[in-house]
Amino acid sequence: MDLFRRIRRKPTLELEDIQATVLRARPEPYFGTHAILEITDPAAGKELLRRLAPRVTSAARWDEPQPSWMALAVTYQGLVALGVPESSLSSFPANFRAGMAARAERLRDTGPNAPEHWEFPFGTARVHVAVTVFAENEADWQSEVAAYERELREVPGVNLLSHQDFGADGFNVFGYRDGFSQPVVEGSGAEPLPGDGRPIKAGEFVLGYPSETGSPLATPAPDVLGRNGTYVVFRKYHSHVDAFNRYLHDNGRTKAERELLAAKLVGRWRSGAPLALAPDRDDAALGADPKRINDFDYADDPRGLHTPLGSHIRRMNPRDTKLEVLTDVNIRRIIRRSTSYGEPLPADALTDDGRPRGLDFIALGARAIDNVEFLQSEWVNSGNFVGLGKEKDPMISLQDKKGAYFTVPGSPPRRIQNIQSFNTLLGGEYFFMPGLSAIDWLSR
């Protein structure tokens, strides 16, 4: 599917200073790498930024295909390691400064998802810089990675802590098409596609511009550091596709029954076709059509008879669903740049093959940290906001070991017991993604 929107209006954002990843869609198929670096002395960190700065792609002409691009982001500990002055450090929000591991309670990252079980280097104070390479083909991916690695080798004093490759054809390891629902950023010049809703104020996604409140959100100081930057939430999950497949098999006798349940859990068929438009059976052509795939709301489905109130997409983007709690859904949008890793497990595989596979959940936005904390406690690990009590998101929540269920509305409703956590958190971090002039400022 062609995920690229076109620039139809004159952009008003400073695109040449904003990092590409903020606006540039993930291609299909895609290839890439997430690397995590440690800065052992400020001079080395600055030298690294100086060397990498020319490779960091801007969002200018973000609508034109590009073979590969690179993104760079820094944690709070990274800013400290770079020797950023205290007056700047203290201007960052408290949850960013604390880091994701310290926010585990707020994020509901407990039990198997708790930081003490995370993979190295997540949750340690050594995570300083993240470098991500995105590419639309293998050769350009390899050469972009090689180019960044050449620079890295030239800078003693910066250590590579982890290197994770990713890539997929646009379908995640559970077999669902993903990554195609994005908010329309006002001022980006993007053409809204049917069902996108109104453009959201730029300041919700890029620091320094008016937000939905009418004013810019709190921006780090000095202005050159904060402006055109954004926050990134990175959460690496291992996916238990075998457990998901077993849940479908335990509760569906035929393939058709299982696929319907799979669609009810997510709110879309695996093709991407939404239940709202294809309530009874999958429609692959609809799932591959960017003009139709999001062209729906829930006005005629208040009870969730087509798209369950507790389904994954209706939780993550309730659109016009009447919520039980006063909520502004327009400030809860995130730009999603998640990447899949590992081979998908086919729907008939009911045992774990022990291989790594999953999703790097990546959310961008001026409120990304607040919003992921909000999503985790209010929309993922609770059902209260849509009147579902303690029922949780069927795909990404941490389910209770006993008594967890998923409800498919109907007459009568079907309550499907013993749902498990289908994704386990392996670690994550809060990053700040500086604009290009901010990278320059940080390198001096």
Partner: protein, 202 residues
């Protein structure tokens, strides 16, 4: 119950409970010691009402949290708020749309120089402050601009401002700790359905 039988019953409680009671309230009468001891010994009841924390500050029992703030008022703040409360006859019915508020009260203290605001609400207090700032900013600012130093609901400093004046409760009880406002609304709707079903049935 006679003092003697209270004492006998107290002796049947687990030693750990008795010790806790004897250490903390040695000066109480045996009847009270027995009541407290029985409460502590009832693990199911105490577990259901377990008091945890509501995020940065405040107590939480089950899903329901408490917030108490005492804030300094501007010189004409109390008079202006009184005028507003009078127009609506002290009836804050519209607050129901927030969907997490069990109750709230506004009380003027110390010769109208301070405002006590107290509420019982679902969840943790800060996730929805941002939503107030874009959904009902006029209302929030109209009420709280009478408070000295109010930064405005859309200000990035507003959460710190509230925390500064918040006084956490030392003890907290909720009769139905797991019944959120949304759940209560759902039970009411279910009951209406059941009642009309019964009415139609007969």
């Amino acid at each position: 119950m006679s003092e003697q039988s209270a004492l006998e019953k107290f002796q049947t409680l687990p030693a750990a409970v008795r010790e806790k009671v004897e250490t903390a309230i040695s000066d109480a009468k045996i009847e009270l010691k027995l009541r407290v001891g029985l409460m502590l010994a009832d693990q199911k009841e105490t577990a259901e009402h377990k008091v945890t924390t509501a995020g940065r500050v405040g107590a939480k029992s089950g899903e329901v949290s408490e917030l108490t703030v005492i804030m300094p008022l501007k010189s004409d703040g109390a008079a202006r708020l009184r005028k507003f409360f009078k127009v609506i006859d002290g009836n804050l019915a519209g607050a129901g749309q927030v969907g997490t508020l069990h109750n709230m009260r506004f009380v003027f203290l110390e010769n109208d120089t301070k405002l006590l605001f107290a509420t019982a609400y679902d969840g943790e207090w800060d996730p929805y402050i941002d939503d107030f700032a874009t959904k009902i900013p006029e209302f929030m600012d109209y009420l709280f601009r009478n408070v000295e130093g109010w930064p405005g609901i859309a200000s990035p400093d507003v959460k710190d401002f509230i925390v500064k004046y918040q006084i956490p409760a030392e003890a907290w009880f909720v009769s139905h700790p797991n019944l959120t406002v949304a759940e209560a609304n759902r039970l009411k709707r279910q009951d209406e359905t059941v009642q009309s079903f019964l009415a139609d049935l007969n």
